[in-house]
Symmetry: C2
Subunit: 113 residues, 2 copies
């Protein structure tokens, strides 16, 4: 469980660690786009864009739906939220540190002000 959730986190952050993929994700969160429609937006080969889409799909950030000969990609906002929740969890760890410091200060009267 912990092992595969780490795998998933690795895949999610890795997928987001490329500006082209973040831009693709932005577009498909705004609405469905075919792979070739996406490819037309970037100064690189169709195959390169198709691989970026595949990375986003494997990470679960995007799903595809067949429509005739086109593959329509759509962003998955739940996956985006799951990444955000990992970060707020980290933030909670930090809050714990602050709480501990506060306790220390409160229990130790000869502290500054």
């Amino acid at each position: 469980m912990t092992e595969e959730s780490a795998d998933r986190a690795d895949a999610l952050f890795h997928a987001l660690a490329d500006r082209t993929r973040r831009d693709i994700l932005r577009r498909v969160l705004a609405g469905e786009h075919s792979v070739s429609a996406l490819a037309a937006k970037y100064d690189m080969s169709f195959a390169a864009v198709q691989k970026h889409v595949a990375v986003l799909e494997k990470a679960g950030l995007l799903t595809k739906r067949r429509s005739g000969r086109e593959q329509l990609a759509s962003g998955d906002v739940e996956a985006v939220r799951s990444v955000a929740s990992m970060l707020t969890e980290l933030e909670q760890v930090w809050r714990g540190r602050i709480a501990r410091i506060d306790v220390l200060i409160a229990s130790d009267p000869d502290q500054e002000e």
Copy 2:
């Protein structure tokens, strides 16, 4: 501006895309740790851990403070929040899509139902 903020986003997500680095970040968000204290926690060389710390530092997720011969690393919660805000911004893009769909349905009376 846009170019360097993309660089920063690349660095942040890349730094987070490794489970060892996420674990280090968790520890240094909870409290200060020297590099060697961190290295002792992992089954890899000191140099490997030192490089992970350097990646987190370059991304701005962690800062170091000298204390004698030790370097004490501390997590920067503001950097974590900045990543979270990038994700909520993506979520806003998605909300825009939903809002547009709602408008379409409202303005088109001959819809299902």
